[in-house]
């Protein structure tokens, strides 16, 4: 298993429970999509997996390792929804230092940074800081940073948010190739067609719990939906009805 989450609960200091007793297993090599409205718990789940918050309860294992271990952390790459780029250093340094945090030698870190700048068409902006990059460039740099240590599990939180059509197509193509090369991908998105186009399996999250899971085709059949948009609305409606009952 690439990711095994059992009984995960996260209650924030203010008392809000974002994720409640959540179980989720993602197979090695899967392309898994996580859908849900704002506040459903997607980013909280990702934050818990990546050690960015303190779970209230539950267990998380990454390729069999406890998610807090160094072994687990080196296997996960995260591209966040927000543009969380270091404001003080340039694009190339960002990748070099990030590679260093994962234990690469100085020579390998610089080599890997240049490879990624080249792959993401950012070589001309290697010496530019965050504020000097366009939104699309920042988005590409975030993905490059997530890949600098060649993770086996890549977590993409709204990777194409704000991207234009051309960039979105490029990112889709690149992510597909990563998946083809054996990378397990966990994707959250608000673009339903993106989830349908890319993911083998989809789960819908609502109020911190998974309310439906399966392939897009299987879910459409189960909820008698014509397309992914209708499916999404029916799943949420069904969950609302069940919760109210």
């Amino acid at each position: 298993m690439a990711l095994a989450v059992r009984g995960l609960t996260k209650t924030y200091r203010a008392g809000f429970t974002a994720v409640r007793d959540l179980d989720l297993v993602i197979a090695d090599g899967a392309f898994f999509g996580l859908l849900g409205p704002n506040g459903a718990g997607k980013t909280t789940l990702i934050g818990a997996v990546c050690n960015l918050l303190r779970p209230t309860a539950g267990e998380i294992r990454v390729f069999g390792h406890d998610h807090g271990s160094r072994e687990a952390r080196r296997l996960v790459g995260l591209a966040e929804q927000d543009v969380t780029l270091d404001r003080f250093i340039d694009a190339e340094e960002m990748l070099v230092f990030q590679a260093g945090y994962y234990g690469l030698s100085r020579r390998d870190a610089w080599k890997r940074a240049r490879e990624l700048l080249d792959q993401f068409d950012l070589s001309a902006k290697a010496k530019s800081r965050r504020s000097e990059l366009s939104g699309g460039m920042q988005r590409r740099l975030l993905l490059a940073r997530a890949l600098v240590h060649q993770p086996r599990l890549l977590i993409l939180d709204e990777p194409t948010a704000g991207a234009d059509v051309e960039l979105r197509a490029e990112l889709w193509s690149y992510i597909r190739r990563l998946h083809g090369a054996g990378t397990t991908v966990l994707l959250t998105t608000h673009y339903l067609e993106e989830a349908e186009a890319l993911c083998d399996e989809i789960a819908v999250l609502r109020d911190g719990a998974i309310v439906a899971r399966g392939s897009a085709d299987a879910l459409r059949e189960r909820f008698d939906a014509r397309d992914i948009g209708e499916l999404y609305l029916r799943v949420l409606e069904s969950a609302r009805t069940t919760a109210a009952a």
């Binding site: 995260l78 003080f88 945090y101 994962y102 234990g103 030698s105 060649q150």
Partner: protein, 267 residues
């Protein structure tokens, strides 16, 4: 976007170069990129105090305990400069990392909590040393610098470097807004500096002011530094070093607890 790299082998984490050293290097690179403010500006501020108080006004101010005024104030000015630099470095580095979210890239990596704390603290100390050395190198020739009790001076310096760095890191860990940081700086750091006996001997103060100065933690760092440089002070070297060392140790313990629990770094 072309080639896709293969995955590394799974298994125990092994680093070709310590992630701690990488984070420390990033901390140093960060302030070197801001050298005009981070280094030159800080040295210049302290130097201006030396020039105005120690040289321009020296003729109108009596010697303190037989020590020329410009020599008397230099140890305290270095203490204030180093402490302020430590505070500013820790707060800007950690607060900005939390505020902009790029601390997540560090927290998600194999870096351990104590490595993150140590890199931030050592990074601040490097900046403190550069600024402190700059002030001494430029002001020393004007005032005639020497170390009467070198061991006391070294002890005072170590305690001061650690304290300044840890205060900055703690403020950076707890601050929720820039307003918090500016408030701490103007309502705590600045008054503590001016009331720490940099510009006067505590023996010359009336009762209440003397008591207030003794309650100021920075007073013990100023006294320890002054005894190390001039050989004389208002309290004994043992008391000054014990209090300064105790403050440094307590702040370090607090800082380590904050990073271990991650209570302010992770929701």
């Amino acid at each position: 976007m072309s080639a896709v790299a293969p995955h590394p082998e799974a298994g125990a984490f092994r680093a070709a170069r310590s992630p701690f050293l990488w984070l420390l290097e990033r901390e140093i690179v960060r302030f070197l990129k801001l050298w005009r403010f981070a280094l030159v500006g800080q040295v210049l501020s302290a130097l201006l105090f030396v020039l105005v108080f120690g040289i321009a006004l020296a003729g109108r101010i009596d010697a303190v305990g037989g020590v020329p005024y410009k020599r008397f104030i230099l140890p305290g000015l270095v203490v204030q400069a180093v402490f302020t630099v430590g505070f500013v470095n820790g707060t800007t580095s950690l607060f900005e990392a939390r505020h902009d979210g790029y601390i997540n890239a560090v927290l998600a990596s194999p870096l351990r909590w104590w490595e993150i704390n140590l890199a931030l603290v050592v990074g601040s100390i490097v900046r403190e040393v550069i600024v402190g050395a700059g002030v001494l190198a430029l002001a020393g020739p004007f005032v005639g610098l020497g170390f009467s009790r070198p061991l006391v001076a070294v002890g005072a310096l170590v305690a001061l470097l650690v304290t300044g760095a840890q205060v900055g890191v703690l403020a950076g860990a707890y601050a929720r807004s820039l307003d918090d940081i500016y408030s701490i700086e103007s309502l705590a750091v600045l008054p503590l500096g001016f009331l720490s006996g940099i510009f006067y001997s505590v023996d010359r103060l009336p009762g209440v002011w003397r008591t207030l100065t003794h309650l100021d933690p920075l007073f013990y760092f100023v006294e320890a530094a002054r005894i190390g440089v001039l050989g004389t002070g208002d309290i004994s070297a043992g008391v000054a070093l014990a209090v300064a060392g105790g403050i440094a140790a307590a702040l370090t313990a607090w800082s380590l607890l904050v990073f271990r629990s991650a209570s302010t770094l992770k929701p």
